[in-house]
Symmetry: C2
Subunit: 271 residues, 2 copies
């Protein structure tokens, strides 16, 4: 099994996260290999010099896999129009989180491309969720154990939709017992209806301890996305957020299914 290379604020810049020119990425085996290898190692890969359009972003995505279609569509575009009941569709700051904790299977990768920003702020925040979880395992092994076994509920509500999932915050590989997924999202949490009431305070304390690891500024990688830079994030490992912003900011992007990403990384001999 492929072992992730953990990073924090200090180490991330020296850890050879791939930043590959679109021309090389689209036309050479090595270009795609380097980006997928970077995603497998660090949960992050970047393609640069991409024309700032939805269509070119989609071309970049399709070198890895087809676009996953969800209730948000295939390729999405958003600014601060609240077209879904989702905090992403605002200009507010967002704490680091994983997407789709309310799906029975969260998207494997997330793709971001800032097409335009006439204003200030909006920096992207990335946090290595596996580092945060393994730090919790070191300092509070019982909390890690509970968070990797006790299923809790997440949900998403808007008119005509009610997504719901119940799973542990940390998911371990069934054979190796190594960390396979982190599902951390304080925005999409639902009431804890299935836990014995006397155990709920402990579970909140466990989540609080994990949240402290996630929110530790030592783990925060802040970067400013400019038009031309397509960012791939492993949504099973890396949490993302953003600073609040002013002005008009247009983003595009999409999800890639977990199976499809794994297939590509397997064919390339990376995992």
């Amino acid at each position: 099994m492929h072992d992730p290379k953990l990073w924090d604020k200090d180490s991330v810049e020296s850890q050879n996260i791939a930043v590959v020119d679109m021309c090389q990425y689209m036309n050479t085996h090595r270009g795609v290999y380097d980006v997928v290898k970077s995603i497998a190692d660090f949960g992050v890969g970047i393609v640069k010099n991409v024309p700032a359009t939805v269509e070119h972003t989609q071309e970049v995505v399709q070198q890895i896999a087809h676009v996953q279609h969800t209730m948000f569509g295939g390729m999405w575009e958003f600014s601060d129009q609240l077209v879904h009941n989702d905090t992403a569709y605002t200009h507010q700051a967002l704490g680091a989180h994983n997407d789709n904790t309310y799906f029975t299977e969260a998207a494997g990768l997330q793709v971001f491309h800032c097409l335009q920003h006439d204003g200030e702020g909006g920096e992207t925040l990335l946090v290595d969720g596996f580092r945060a979880a393994y730090e919790l395992q070191q300092t509070h092994p019982a909390s890690f154990q509970r968070l990797s076994t006790i299923p809790i509920e997440a949900e998403y509500l808007e008119a005509g939709k009610h997504y719901f999932s119940m799973d542990s915050v940390l998911k371990l590989h069934p054979v190796t017992k190594k960390l396979q997924q982190i599902r951390f999202n304080l925005y999409d949490r639902a009431p804890m209806r299935t836990q014995p009431p006397d155990q709920i305070p402990q579970l909140y304390e466990d989540i609080h301890l994990l949240a402290a690891k996630v929110k530790d500024s030592q783990g925060e990688w802040w970067l400013k996305l400019h038009p031309g830079t397509v960012l791939f994030v492993d949504n099973w490992r890396v949490l993302h957020g953003r600073a609040s912003y002013t002005g008009l900011r247009k983003m595009t992007g999409c999800y890639i299914g977990r199976s499809d990403y794994i297939s590509k990384a397997t064919v390339l001999g990376i995992i």
Copy 2:
């Protein structure tokens, strides 16, 4: 939690599986409700009098959710052209199976519509996988226990693709411990590389015992799909197969994601 109503060959015809006219299904709350309720109860629902085109089939699908896109595309069409390395793309008989055991999450629902068949055979086989699994639990509880806990491997290979998943054949709900999913597919099995060698014969025996329940003719519901009939199958519960056939047979259909089906059934107040 919604309890499935188990069925076999004798009981299925009397169990009120929904067969809803397209006009009612497209235009009334009750029409969609009856089909989704039937899928939740029996793992099967039918819409009839649908024009035999891909486009009309898609309209029927979209009353429940958007089309799930996979490596096979969105709405698919096939006859016996082997465009993928998949037994579905032949004229051979297929034993009852679940699709996508090699995905990290199998599709929630599968949709079938026979657009044309000039020939003989090709009857559709459906088997209630939950009935088969619960019968195994009655006769061989230790086998049920192993099949619901020991992860085994499934894979799919074609040029440029290598899908792979490791999970138990039977999956229980994390809280209620009731059966949540069956992943039964003898075509997509991979070598058992993660089990201790001395336990593999026992696991093969367990799978053999479950296969006997699945293949018991008492559990087989055979039906002939004609143009106009759109069949929804819960791919987490019901296994499907078909008889061999002669002549030209054109099928269309698609997958619906598990989360999207659950959202619809939840909004309708069914689960």
